[in-house]
């Protein structure tokens, strides 16, 4: 009885999540007519891939997709490299300024990036990273860093100190112990951070448009103009743009669950 209640709840929540996505797909496939009819049909009468195909055939889409992927991967890399050590520090040590550090990390997230656009762009031009995926990934890293630091910190906290101490007893250096014991056990956190970093970078529009001219990411290339296109093109665009992140989360999904280790769930 309990079991079927659970399953019913799970199914309902899945449906709640998927229904709007279904509508998005409906709008993308249904073409011009569907978005303008009322009552709205729930099944695309004349489904056609033409809008989506036209969308993908737009000049420059391939180059922009590659730029997006590069930016997102760089963002993941930098977020992890910068965030994991900081998370470890917050988890294992209680030092003066820990809270101040947390607030500082959040500052770039709490302050809207769009308002920083002018001085940020000037700075980036001077650094020589204007109009490069690297430059954009740096801004995205700043946006993803709070996630990297705070999530890894809360997860490292849960790894028992005793395991590390045991490793020290057996001759591991502190760094080796951290790398070989704590890191693998905190893998679900790393997976979560990777997902957030990828998604934040992929979907970020504003900084990506201001900081690039010729080498735009896909979202900068399309989303800046999509909001003024006819409705069915917007649906097609929105739908196409969601697919890479959905695919990425699919690939990484198993890592969100601990494979081995302390809780063995």
């Amino acid at each position: 009885m309990k079991r079927s209640l659970y399953l019913a709840g799970v199914t309902m929540l899945c449906a709640w999540t998927l229904v709007p996505i279904y509508f998005l797909a409906l709008g993308a496939l249904g073409g011009r007519d569907l978005v303008n009819t009322f009552p709205k049909p729930f099944w695309p009468g004349s489904a056609s891939l033409s809008t989506i195909r036209d969308f993908l055939a737009i000049d420059g889409v391939t180059a922009a997709t590659i730029a997006s992927v590069e930016t997102a991967c760089l963002c993941m890399l930098f977020s992890l490299v910068l965030g994991l050590p900081a998370g470890y520090a917050l988890a294992r040590f209680s030092f003066r300024g820990a809270n101040a550090y947390r607030l500082l990390i959040l500052l770039t997230r709490a302050f809207p990036v769009a308002i920083l656009a002018l001085p940020l762009t000037v700075g980036f031009i001077r650094l020589g990273v204007y109009d490069t995926p690297l430059g954009v990934s740096l801004v995205h890293t700043a946006l993803a860093l709070p996630f990297a630091v705070l999530v890894s910190s809360s997860l490292f906290q849960a790894v028992p100190r005793e395991l590390e101490e045991a490793a020290w007893v057996f001759g591991c250096s502190k760094f080796q112990a951290a790398r070989r014991i704590v890191l693998p056990l905190a893998l679900p956190g790393i997976a979560a951070i990777a997902i957030f970093a990828f998604v934040i970078s992929w979907n970020e529009v504003f900084a990506a448009s201001v900081l690039t001219v010729r080498h735009r990411t896909l979202t900068a290339y399309l989303l800046t103009v999509l909001s003024e296109s006819p409705l069915h093109v917007q649906f097609a665009g929105g739908f196409v743009l969601i697919l890479p992140t959905v695919a990425f989360i699919y690939v990484v999904r198993k890592h969100l669950f601990a494979m081995w280790g302390i809780s063995n769930r």
Partner: protein, 429 residues
């Protein structure tokens, strides 16, 4: 698994290295444009128009609001990427104040024989002594109605010569018959509602824009407009482009920039009619929309930009632009007879607007520098207070006039049509 992840990351780094060290391609000239942004239009711009141009061009579409920031940042950072800028008159104005554009007097002389009206070239000076932009294309705002609304026109009303009173009667009749409010205005966050007030409502009712801001005629105007608003679809405060609600049938009568209604006219030319905006007691005010081409200060390829402006000002290219964008040529060029039906509707409405006997052209604001947005906000806030929040017009107008006076005082802008010319800053009476 960690091994795999590390390998993937390493591969990505290897792939990204070219991106990290990539120098900008020195060949393509960068053409930054705030017009022709929608995906399909940008595509056409690239494939039909720019491909046949004199220099290889990278076409970059930007939100209009970002352009001053980008140009300022490139200037302060010391590295200019953009050569050619295509934008609306109001968007080019702050660029002149910031010093990001170069004078184009030589080019203007070269293009003298193309037939660009002197009035437009004058606008292109943006209040300075030099030609700062070359007019690129023009349009105006029109109204579009669904044919289903036509039977409800008041008796004796000519749709091509409506008054605001007749519009109100018409809209009320439609509401009575259908039970729904079917008149729409682009009052959304990216809508061009402020142009309606600056270029159409104020000139038609008061004969001026700045000097008559708080006149008794203005008070009467706002009262009447608030009454008209009772027949307006309340979702208008979300409409940015009227073509969507028109196509969806949410709205039967709409006012907007012609390019923002073109999709509706093109898709269903048999379902719609296009006509000039209504007239008020003082005439039929209308505001032209001018897009211009300008060259950035310190442009990496000024010669290429020059050549492209020349190319874009040839009659053949201007006709192609008209067929793509809903903007119309500024040079002497006859549009072919085989225009699409939707485009034909728009052309006819524009022609009627410009040639109406009671037409009162309301020029674009000149000399407002960076305060263009603040100026528009005065009118929009007045609208929000009087029409949406129901405050009394007299009090609101007096209060808003203070803000208007401050802006004029700060910028020193002289009056522009339809206000009578002034010596010094335009007075708010």
């Amino acid at each position: 698994m960690i091994r795999i992840t590390t390998r993937v990351l390493a591969a990505t780094m290897a792939l990204s290295l070219p991106a990290l060290t990539q120098p900008a391609q020195a060949e393509d000239m960068v053409f930054l444009s705030t017009q022709l942004r929608p995906v399909e239009e940008a595509q056409k711009m690239r494939e039909i128009i720019l491909k046949a141009g004199p220099v290889p061009t990278t076409y970059v579409a930007d939100f209009p609001q970002v352009v001053p920031t980008r140009l300022a940042a490139e200037r302060e950072g010391g590295k200019r990427t953009v050569s050619l800028v295509g934008a609306l008159h109001g968007e080019l104005q702050p660029l002149v104040t910031a010093g990001d554009l170069v004078p184009l007097d030589g080019l203007a002389a070269k293009l003298a024989g193309r037939g660009i009206p002197p009035a437009l070239m004058e606008l292109g000076k943006l209040g300075t002594a030099h030609q700062m932009y070359i007019p690129w294309m023009q349009a105006t705002y029109i109204m579009v109605a669904n044919r289903q609304a036509l039977p409800f026109l008041p008796k004796g009303a000519d749709i091509n010569a409506l008054t605001f009173e007749q519009l109100a009667e018409w809209s009320t009749a439609v509401q009575a018959a259908t039970g729904k409010r079917m008149l729409g205005f682009p009052a959304g966050p990216q809508g061009l509602m402020h142009r309606f007030f600056e270029g159409f409502l104020y000139p038609s009712y008061t004969g001026g824009v700045v000097s008559t801001f708080r006149s008794p005629e203005a008070e009467a105007m706002w009262t009447e407009f608030a009454a008209l608003w009772k027949t307006v679809n309340p979702n208008s405060t979300s409409y940015n482009f009227m073509q969507e609600p028109l196509l969806a049938g949410d709205v039967w009568i709409g006012f907007d920039h012609v390019a923002r209604m073109l999709d509706a006219l093109r898709q269903k030319p048999d379902q719609f009619v296009a006509f000039p905006a209504p007239a008020g007691p003082k005439g039929r005010g209308y505001m032209p929309i001018i897009a211009g081409l300008a060259i950035a200060q310190g442009a990496p390829d000024a010669k290429g930009a020059d050549a492209l402006i020349d190319y874009l000002s040839t009659p053949a290219t201007q006709i192609k632009m008209a067929q793509t964008s809903g903007f119309f040529p500024v040079v002497t060029a006859t549009l072919p007879d085989d225009l699409e039906p939707g485009l034909k509707l728009a052309v006819a409405a524009i022609a009627r607007t410009q040639s109406a006997p009671d037409a009162k052209p309301s020029l674009l604001p000149i000399g407002l520098g960076t305060q263009g947005g603040a100026f528009d906000k005065i009118y929009l806030d007045t609208f929000q207070r009087v029409v949406l929040r129901g405050e009394k017009p007299r009090a609101v107008l007096d209060r808003q006039a203070e803000g208007l006076k401050k802006i004029i005082a700060e910028t020193g802008a002289p009056c522009w049509l339809p206000d009578k010319p002034s010596q010094g800053p335009c007075p708010v009476e």
